[in-house]
Each structure stands twice: as structure tokens, then as C-alpha cells.
Symmetry: C2
Subunit: 127 residues, 2 copies
Amino acid sequence: MSKQESGAVDPGGAVQGCCPGLLRTPLGEDESVELARVFKALGDPVRLRLLSLIASRDGGEVCVCDLTPAFDLAQPTISHHLKLLREAGLIASQRRGTWVYYRLLPESTDRLARILTRAAAPEAAGA
Amino acid sequence: MSKQESGAVDPGGAVQGCCPGLLRTPLGEDESVELARVFKALGDPVRLRLLSLIASRDGGEVCVCDLTPAFDLAQPTISHHLKLLREAGLIASQRRGTWVYYRLLPESTDRLARILTRAAAPEAAGA
């Protein structure tokens, strides 16, 4: 458990500003908690399929009435999964008349994509 | 629960070949199960920080002896989190002498970044 081989890792203090990239600098504790909540929302097959159905729909919006028939699940279960995606900031909803409509919040998925993208040339950066 | 407003979503059959993009075509059931497992592995603050420490380390490899002191957690807990990251295909490990060394499997995070990236011009694609 000693540090003799290559020095202890300092996990704090490296995350500054927006979106430094998970793979470039050690993630701070606060950001890891916030980010884990978003990834956890994606960590379920039904929620992934819901997000994918919403995101890939032409027009950018899907009625909940069109999402439910795509799953062999009860409406309250679908609604619960949609709520978790909404609370994670991945989708937004709007009620119009009888139905609720869902749309992707692309800035959220853009952020995740950016966070998971490697630096172009890490070796050259410090030279 | 009816489909009258915009037609039912067909979630099947749209996923072909490698990595069609979660946001471009509806995800199939099998891929959603596999992908959810990877996102679930990322859905924990300690695992995110471990992955970030491993990925951002110069030289690309971190001794477990350097990871443990960065957390206020017991060695078996850290090992358990590392095992889940490994089982999700995000990191690889190699024992050398006393210590186990971990490195990022960048093709995994590249894949996630690609899956979360929007199509450049979705409207123009079908014209």
C-alpha cells in the first residue's frame, strides 16, 4: 500500500472550468458525483432505448403515447424511467393537451461525448 | 396509450454493424443491454475517479498502490470498483511483481464518445 513506485496520485484540484475531459485530468470529487448521476441514468437498457428513440426521432420530439407501445412494460414504469432521464438533464418534457412530449437535450450528450474524448496529442502538449 | 398522433416507434432492427450511434437510430434490445452495462460501470463517483486517474496518468499506466491512497476507502473496495471497470471493458490490468498495474482501454471510451456524438446534418442525410 506504499507509494514507492511512482508517487501518489493527487485526485483533487485538477478540475477547473467546464469539461476538462475525464481522460485528460483527474476528475474532482464534486464533478465525479454529478457526472456519475448522468452515467447512472444511462446505465439501464430501457432508459438507453428510450433516450435513443427520443434522440433519433425526426422532428426531435416524441409523444409518450408513441414510446410506451415500443416496450413490454407498464406506462408507470416507462414514466419512471423517463423521469430519471429528465432528472439527469438528458431530456426535457412538455405537456400539450393529453400527451407529454419528450426531446433530447443535446448539450448533455455533447458534454458526455466531449468528456470521453481523448486529447489529440497529449505528449506534445507539454513540450 | 394509442398511437394516433405520430405512429408507433419501432425500436427493433435499426442497429446494424458497429456503433450506429445512440442518437441517430433506435438502439436494439441486445445492444442496449450490453451498452447499459458499460454506462452502469461509469455510474459511480469512485469508479469515475479511478478511470480518470488511470486515463490521465502520464505513461498510461497506474499501479494500484498509487490509486488506493487517493481514496478514503479500503483496498478491497477499490479492488472491487476496479474489477467492475475491467469487466465493463474500460480498463485492463497486468500483475508485475507485487503490484497490479491498470491502463485505459481507449477503444472503449472512443466507442462511447462516438455513440454519444450527434450526426452532423441529420436533415440533409435523407434528401
